[in-house]
Amino acid sequence: MLVLFWTDLLIFVLLAAAIAFSVYAYRREHLRAPWRRVGRSRVAMGALVILSAYVAVGLLDSIHYRQELETRTAGGQSQYSNEVLSLFDWMVMPLKTRGEKTYSAPFATHLYAKETVERADGSQQRLYPRLVFGGAQLRDPAERGADIAQRATIGALKGSALWLLVATFVVQAAAWRSGTGFRLLAAEIRGDLTMTRWRAALLTFLVLLVIVFVAAELSSGYHILGTDKVGESVFYQTLKSIRTGLVIGTLTTLVMLPFAILLGIMAGYFGGWVDDVIQYIYTTLNSIPGVLLIAAAVLMLQVYLDNRSAEFASVAERADLRLLFLCLILGVTSWTGLCRYLRGESLKLREIDYVQAATALGVGHFTIIVRHLLPNVMHIVLITVVLDFSGLVLAEAVLSYVQIGVDPTMNSWGNMINSARLEMAREPIVWWSLFAAFLFMFTLVLAANLFSDAVRDAFDPRLRNR
């Protein structure tokens, strides 16, 4: 049975909007040109591949369902499990189900803590017990190195083979479209002579595929990023956190955009008392330090949810609602900058000849705003959206640390760091949760930063002519 959370719905609305916009932009040369400039940056193409991988995981993790149970009710109707799973959970089910007792280091064959074990002759001994799943296929733990190397090689070969297949297909398709021969195009890409830097994208894709397959191959025998306190795979946790990070980074902007665009353009275009009122609103909101406003709002939300906890069907649903509200609150605190920027731009555009001409011809305010102002500020909106993304992903971690972030039951990098922080004092140190969160968050934020810089350089008319 499919389950649709509020954030899922909004993600798919966002996806549909993005697809619609790219189809629209693809048909118009003036909108395509800046994107072509983005494609000319090697870094941007590489970052785009990484970002797409994250988005793919996030989207798969947004299709939720509830498993049908074996048992049926007396009336013969099917029953559904209380646990909400996602398509992504289904794909990585072994990661989710193969838990250990408690901590274990990455690639470990033994548990992190000693346990009292009863031996066959009845005597008791304190030792590190073997893991239930990690390295269980090894008869002797000493064979581990060879086993890991073998699995990694198989994974790398599989990844490269798939890459070869996909790359051939992509180049073939591109060759058909452009009318150049396959060999010629392949040689051009190899020499990095194409306008759009396909070589950078394909190479990143190769690295990505190899990593994914090596990780998958190794995961079948080991916990590649260890397990946490209750024995859950850290690799699974950090993969699940991707969706949370993406939701915060994208839905927040989606929430704030209508306000910022509408109010900003209205303030600049109409001027007078409209301008005064809108300026007053955003100065007031802007005066409250962001973290404090978020703290106040989340505290209130907590009280609200606590007192109405009976109304939610599941913990996941409540956590999802909290995530959505967090996006709303972050949106409320972050729209003022864009709004101010758009107001300034509209003030300038209002005086430009074609707007004056439209006014003189008797075109209505609404039409002028939609036809003449909106398309001319869209580049600012786009630049802000991509620049804000990485900041929001980072903010999630900090907010979760202060306990005003996402629900503690939800997988997120902030929650991972928060729980890992307390384990830093242990000896030997439990570092893998922290490392996993760091690795995945850093990759996402770095890719987003590099990509957004390229987008800004391509879209900002002031930077274009440098």
């Binding site: 409250i288 009280v303 606590d306 830093m424 760091f438």
Partner: protein, 325 residues
């Protein structure tokens, strides 16, 4: 000048009223006082008597905006709105939900915050300007390229990792400085080094990149070409001409955060156990002490608005082209 400042101060009043109303709605209208009492007392099956007595002790037992039970001015003053929100304008923060005097706590805890925040700001500016000047000096070379790449990498790392890594490396591995804590007088020094160093390193990425953009923008201007045409060396052009002019945007960017230094940094202070206003706010949030959070929201807004006014004044002081209007 004075007329200008007075006008700016008057303009701040409606904004503060707006902030006050907003926080009031957030704290008292979204949830009723009963809900707040229930979450404070912590138990779902708490009795109505317990709720009523908690409300009476903490002053939540009155009507929200209009009291019909009393006469005269009291109709307006004997309400939650007047007691909890209007009093903030006189900086009368009242008592926290756990019964402590908030004004006293603030006056005590703002000093550790300042002791951390001021050196962080000063050292940070110095370091960032130095790096940005270096990168600008070697612009359009490999040093410039890799410098910017390094900045992007630095600013892609969450602040939490800087703190955890710094605490682990400097304190746990090398035993150079204590992990966390605070002391009075000169003894505080050894507790200050780590937070300041980490905060400065955390700021390098975004700071250097921002200053670099400012420097490059200035370098592209006509007066720089003139200076070079006169035969001045690149070093003198950068330090005498570009740096001076670039100080205008840098200075105004710094002035706006000056008053907020009092508030301290939430994350740094709570990680390092420094008893400043930042960790005070965090404690308030974690104990769900609404009186503290409300006071800090108001204080933060006042300081921010004050910072904006200071910025405008500093513009007119450093840049003679700007006039009061």
């Amino acid at each position: 000048m004075i007329a200008y400042i007075v006008r700016r101060l008057l303009y701040a009043i409606p904004i503060l009223i707006g902030v006050n109303l907003l926080t009031f709605v957030l704290f008292f209208v979204v949830n009723t006082p009963d809900d707040i009492a229930r979450s404070q007392l912590g138990d779902r099956r708490v009795t109505q008597e317990a709720i009523d007595s908690w409300k009476a002790v903490n002053g939540y037992d009155r009507p929200i905006v209009f009291n019909t039970k009393v006469a005269g001015v009291e109709k307006l003053t004997n309400t939650i709105f007047f007691d909890k929100s209007v009093r903030l304008f006189a900086f009368d923060f009242g008592r926290s939900d756990s019964g402590r005097d908030i004004s006293y706590d603030i006056s005590q805890r703002m000093w550790p915050s300042l002791v951390i925040a001021v050196p962080t700001l000063l050292v940070g500016i110095l370091v960032n300007i130095t790096f940005a000047m270096l990168i600008a000096f070697f612009r359009a070379t490999y040093i410039d390229f890799w410098g910017v790449v390094l900045c992007v990498i630095l600013l892609s790392i969450s602040s939490l990792f800087y703190i955890i890594a710094g605490q682990y490396l400097l304190s746990k591995l090398f035993h150079l400085v204590p992990i966390s804590g605070y002391d009075t007088g000169l003894n505080a020094l050894k507790f200050l080094i780590l937070p300041v160093v980490i905060s400065v390193i955390h700021g390098i990425g975004s700071g250097t990149r921002w200053y670099r953009t400012i420097f490059l923008e200035e370098i592209g201007k006509d007066y720089v070409r003139t200076a070079r045409a006169k035969g001045l060396g690149e070093g003198i052009v950068l330090f005498r001409h570009v740096l001076k002019n670039a100080m205008i945007p840098i200075l105004t960017g710094v002035v706006v955060v000056l008053p907020l230094l009092f508030m301290g940094s939430l994350i740094t202070e709570s990680f390092f156990g420094i008893p400043g206003l930042g960790s005070y706010t965090i404690e308030g949030i974690q104990r769900q002490d609404f009186a503290i959070v409300r006071s800090m929201v108001f204080l933060g807004s006042v300081l921010y608005i004050f910072g904006l006014i200071l910025t405008d004044i500093s513009y007119t002081l450093v840049d003679p082209r700007v006039r009061f209007s």
